[in-house]
Symmetry: C2
Subunit: 160 residues, 2 copies
DNA sequence: CGCTTCGTTCATTATATTTTGAACAATCTG
DNA sequence: CAGATTGTTCAAAATATAATGAACGAAGCG
């Protein structure tokens, strides 16, 4: 049961590989989530590296990333010392985890930078100053909207 | 006026470099948009490569990308044969252009792949089939939501 | 026309990212 | 405790991505 991905598995994995790309995550992370998503049974590192033909290192690191935002959950398997995982299938949870883990820091950083920029406007020469102030204002508007889009997108996903 | 970025320019450019990263666009694209965004005057390729210290090739390619989704507009400058550009400052337009140009194709591709996957479910063995059908259903739900999120996000930006 | 200027293209080079695999630490097992 | 097994880490290798710059074609200009 381990080797050779079925046609269906390949298709599903490709979907998540593509998503991983969009999210700037390594290909292997997409592969791992994809195969777990479509697998009825939880899987351990050995299963995964055999199935996907990737190294143990990649597998371990990939699972670490997936765990970091809750895309994957540990599953206890009786009588087996190895760690097993199953894909988290509630989109809401994954998105929330990803937002907190990977997006929030960027937003915070951006806010800090905007504050710094505010202070630099006054130093501009008279002609440019007006224009620049307008642009910075605009930028701040965008930033604010980006910040409020996230909580909003979360609501967009069915609360169930 | 050409060489050496001011502190403010550096900060603004860094913001857009970061955004470019999130959108999987080359760093130089972020730099170009950033410097145009904060420049009161339209700029030509020479101005840009001098200011940002990047090659002519990068500048040309970067502008091509920015044009492709309307993040930058050509500006006619009397008595100068060169092409000048100014940053498009209406977020709505940029997002719409980016969505059409870079996101829509992915969604279309995804839809096609989902159709293909649908047909593969029946071939699964009895035990797995139930689970797999549930997962594919779920995936389809996600896909659908992703498709409707985009138009919705566009509305989220003030029509002005 | 011939000369110049301008923008694009694309093969090469440089850089950044990902994967690998061996070394290691931790935990179990008899 | 000695020997195995499991997961992690990290330097090195492989791969993917972006930047460079020279060659080119297409206008403008005298």
């Amino acid at each position: 049961m381990s080797p050779a991905l079925s046609e269906l598995e390949k298709e599903v994995v490709e979907i998540f590989v593509r998503i991983a790309g969009v999210l700037s995550l390594p290909r292997s992370v997409g592969e791992l989530y994809g195969i777990l998503f479509i697998s009825p049974e939880p899987m351990c590192i050995d299963d995964l590296m055999l199935k996907l033909k990737i190294s143990k290192g990649s597998t371990s690191q990939g699972l670490k990333i997936l765990r970091s935002f809750g895309a994957v959950n540990p599953v206890y398997v009786a009588g087996d010392r190895r760690d097993f995982y199953a894909a988290e299938a509630e989109l809401r949870k994954i998105v929330a985890g990803f937002a907190n883990e990977q997006i929030r820091p960027h937003l915070d950083n951006g806010k800090a930078r905007m504050a710094r920029i505010e202070g630099l406007i006054d130093a501009e020469e008279a002609g440019r100053k007006e224009f620049i102030a307008e642009r910075i204002d605009r930028l701040q508007g965008w930033q604010k909207r980006a910040g409020s889009l996230l909580p909003f997108a979360l609501n967009f996903i069915k609360p169930e």
